[in-house]
Symmetry: D2
Subunit: 257 residues, 4 copies
C-alpha cells in the first residue's frame, strides 16, 4: 500500500507554483542556463561561474559519438522495429551500463575513495603511486584512462583548459593527473586521461556522489540518441537489416524427440 | 544481415576527431551553451540568439514537476525494485507517451497542419475560428491548452515574454495565441495556453518537425528523473510501499478446476 | 493522487490465498499446463482441450528464431553494455513493435473486422475476394502472409494440422485460408500464410481481442531472449563489437563556430 | 564494427528450417509442452518427466500476484501514459530487480555455493548450521525464506509435493529444508521457505546456473503483466491517478536567483 504522502526535496508544486530547489521556474528560465539548472536540480544549490562553465562543457562533451556506440544501436533497433520515440530513447538508455558509459561512475568512485584515504602531507604523486600498486594487486584496469579510438581525447584537454582558466582545480583533478603521470612513468607508455576520467574528476571536485556518474553521461547523450532516432525514422526503411551478421550455429545437429 | 556501412549525418568520428554537424567538439564545448548544442544536433545548424534563449528556456521549463507525474512513478518504481540508474531513467522515459508528455507533439502537429492549410490574406483569427470548428466536428480537445493544476501556467508567460523581448514571433505562435482567444470568445471561459502548447508553437516556428515534439520534453525531463532516482536511492528503503493502494478484487469467486 | 482502491478481476490475494480468475494457485499448479494457465489468465476461463493444444503450439512456435531478429540484437546489446538480465529482456521486448512481431495484431485486426463485415450467405471465397480488393484500394499488404526467409513456414502447417486433428476451425481460420487461395488465384504466385497469420486466425477463433496480438508473441519469445542474454553473458566478452558496421558520415564537412 | 559472424548454439535457421537445440520446431510443437520447451531452450536438453512437471509448476506458480507488486505498477503506469503493449511489459520487466523478484537468484547462489562447500560425510543439518552462522556473521537475511503476506505459502507446499511425488530431491532441496529447520530451532519462530526459495532449490537441483534465477520469474510473470496491461487498457481511463499520493515538499523554501 502506498504511504500517506511521499516526501521530496526537489520541486514544490501548487496551483501556479513550480519551485525547483526553492527557485521559481520562471526565475530559472530567465536567469540560468540549462546546464546550471541541471547542476541546481542535482546538487540543490546553483553553481559558481567556474562550475557553470564546466557543467556546460561536460554536458556538451558527450552529446554524441557517431553511429558506433552500442546505445545508438539500441535506439535505432527499437525505432526500426516500429516503436515510439520514447521507447527508442529508453532502449538506448538501457544499454548505458557498466561497460558502456560506466567509466565515469567507476572512475569517480576510485578517485573519491583515494582522496579520502590520502594521508596528511602525502604528495599527489605518492597517493597516485599507492593507487597504481593497489590496482596492480587487484589486477584491475583504472577506468577513465586510455581510449580505444582516441590517442589524445580532444574533450579531455578542453575540459581541463576550461578548469584551468577558471582556476578550478580540486583534489580529484590533482589525483587523476598524478595518476596519468604515474602510469606513464611505470610503463613508459602514455595512458592519457579520457573524457570519462576527466568528467569523473571534475564532478568529484564539484562534490557530486560517484553514484550519480552514469547520470551525467545519460543526460548528455539523450539528445544524441534523439538525433539518431529521428535520422532512423526519416532516412531509413523500417526493419532494415541492422544486424547482427549471418550467424554461425554451433549447437547440436538435427535430432528427433 | 547488417548493411556494409551505415550512413549518418550527425557526427563524424575518427582518431582525435569528433565533429558534430561539422563542428569540432572542443569548439562546441568552448563556444556553445548546452541548449545551443541540443539545437545544433537536432537541426543541423546553430540557433540565432533568439532561438538560443528560447531553446534554453524550453529545456529549463520542463526539467521537473514534483513527485506527481507518472514518469516519476515509473523511475522511482524501477529504482525501488533494486535496479540501476540507467534502468530507472529508462523506466521513466517509457512512461512518457501519448497521454503524458505527448501534448507537445500533438499540438505541434495540428499547428503545423493549419499553418499550411491557411489561405492567403486569411487573418489568424479566421484560421483559429476554422480550427475550433474542425476540433468540434472531430469532437476533439486541443492539446496544449488548459491544465489540470495551473490556471495560469508560469512557464507559458515567461516563454512568450522571452520570445517577445527578442522580437521572435512566427506563424505558429500567432496561431496558438489566436486559438486561445477564439476558445475564450466561444465559451466565455479562459482556456489558457499551457507549457506544452507554448513549446509546440515555438519549436514549430523554429522549423522543427512535430514528430520531434516528445523529444524536447524527454531531454528536458531526464535530469528531473535522475534527481528523483537519486532521492529514492539515498532517502528511501528498497521496496517501500510505492503503491498501488490495496486493490479490490472484482473477478470470479473461488472455484475448482 | 492515487485512487482509494484499484479494481482488478485477475488475481485475488490474501494471507495464504492466491486465486487466479477464481482458481487456487496450487490447484492450477497441479492441474493445468502453463499454456492453459496463460489462456486462463488472459481469457478468464480455462481452454477446451483443443484450445489447450493450440495455445501450447502457439507459445512453442515463436520461442526463438535464431540470432537474426532485431529483438535479439536489442537484448544482446543491453547485456553487452554491462546490464542486468531483466534490463536485457526489457531491451528486447522494447524492439517488438509494429514492424517486428506486429503482424499478429495487424492480421487479427483485419480478420476480425472482415468476419464482422461478412454478409449472411456470403461464401468465404467471396469475403476473401472483397478483402483482397480492399487491400488493393488501400495499397496495403496483408500482414500474416508471405515470409522473407521461409517459402513454406513449418510452423503454419503444424498449427493448422493440430487444429484440424481437434476439429477446430472457426470463421477466422476459414477466412485466412480463403485469403491465401484468393491471392494465389489473383497473382498466380503462392503467398503462403506465415506463422503470424496462422496465430492471428487461431487466437481470433478463440475469441481474443486483436489488441492482445503482440502479447502472445512477447510471452512466447521471452524464453528465447533469455537464452540469448545468457549465451551473451557466458560466451562473449562485454562490449564486443556488436555493430553497427563502420559508418559513412555524409553530413557537413568541418567548419568553425 | 560487427564481427564477421555471430556464433550461437540456440537455434539453427534456414529456409524452411527452425531447429531449436537440434529439434525441428514442428516436432517440438507436436511433442513438448511449452514448459518443456522453456527447459529445452535454456538447458540445451529436454527435461525428464519429473523435471517437466516441476518446470510447469514453477512457471504457473509466479504467473501473477494481484495488483500490488511493483512490476504491475510499472506496467500499468507505462500503459496509462499512452504507450504500446510491448513498452508496458518492458516497463514491468524493468522493475524486476534485486529487491523484487531477485530472491530466486540470490537464494540459488547461496544454495549452490554451500552445496559446493559442503564437506564429505557432513549432514545437511550441519551444513545448514554453518550457513546460518555465516549469515549471522555477515548480518545477512537468507533470501527465499519468510514472506510479508503469506505465513504459509501455498506455492511452496505444492512445489515440494510435486517433487516428492516424482521422487525428485537433490542436494539443494535437502539444504533449503535443513535451513528452514535450523532457523526455527535457533529462533523458536518458523521462517518458512517461500516460493522463491523453493524455486531456487528446484532449479539448482535441475542444474541451472543461479545467474538465470531472475529469468524464470520473468518468464512466469510476463503473462500476468500482459493481463494487467490489457485490464488497464480496457477498463481504465488514460492518465488516471495511479499515484503517487500528494507529496510533502521538504526542501528549501522560496528564494530568488
Amino acid at each position: 500500500m502506498a504511504e500517506e504522502k511521499w516526501k521530496t526535496a526537489i520541486t514544490d508544486i501548487g496551483p501556479g507554483k513550480i519551485n525547483v530547489r526553492g527557485y521559481q521556474i520562471a526565475d530559472i528560465m530567465e536567469n540560468l542556463s540549462y546546464a546550471e539548472a541541471v547542476y541546481l536540480i542535482l546538487k540543490g544549490e546553483r553553481p559558481t561561474p567556474a562550475e557553470a562553465a564546466l557543467m556546460n562543457a561536460i554536458l556538451v562533451s558527450s552529446i554524441d559519438h557517431g553511429a558506433s556506440p552500442p546505445s545508438v544501436l539500441g535506439t535505432r533497433t527499437v525505432m526500426s522495429g516500429g516503436n515510439s520515440l520514447n521507447a527508442a530513447i529508453a532502449g538506448g538508455v538501457l544499454v548505458i551500463g557498466d561497460t558502456h558509459g560506466g567509466a565515469i561512475e567507476q572512475s569517480a568512485r576510485i578517485l573519491q575513495d583515494w582522496v579520502k584515504k590520502r594521508e596528511e602531507n602525502e604528495s599527489w604523486d605518492e597517493t597516485a603511486g599507492k593507487l597504481v600498486n593497489w590496482l596492480n594487486e587487484q589486477n584491475k584496469r583504472m577506468p577513465g584512462l586510455g581510449h580505444r579510438l582516441h590517442k589524445v581525447d580532444p574533450r579531455t584537454g578542453k575540459l581541463f583548459e576550461i578548469a584551468a582558466r577558471h582556476g578550478y582545480s580540486g583534489r580529484h583533478i590533482e589525483l587523476v593527473k598524478a595518476l596519468e603521470k604515474a602510469f606513464e612513468k611505470k610503463s613508459g607508455k602514455p595512458l592519457p586521461i579520457n573524457v570519462d576520467g576527466a568528467i569523473a574528476a571534475v564532478i568529484s571536485d564539484m562534490g557530486f556522489d560517484w553514484r550519480l556518474g552514469k547520470g551525467f553521461f545519460i543526460i548528455s547523450r539523450v539528445p544524441g540518441l534523439l538525433a539518431h532516432a529521428y535520422e532512423e525514422m526519416t532516412r531509413e526503411k523500417p526493419m532494415r537489416p541492422l544486424g547482427p551478421p549471418p550467424s554461425e550455429y554451433d549447437g547440436p545437429g538435427e535430432r528427433k524427440l
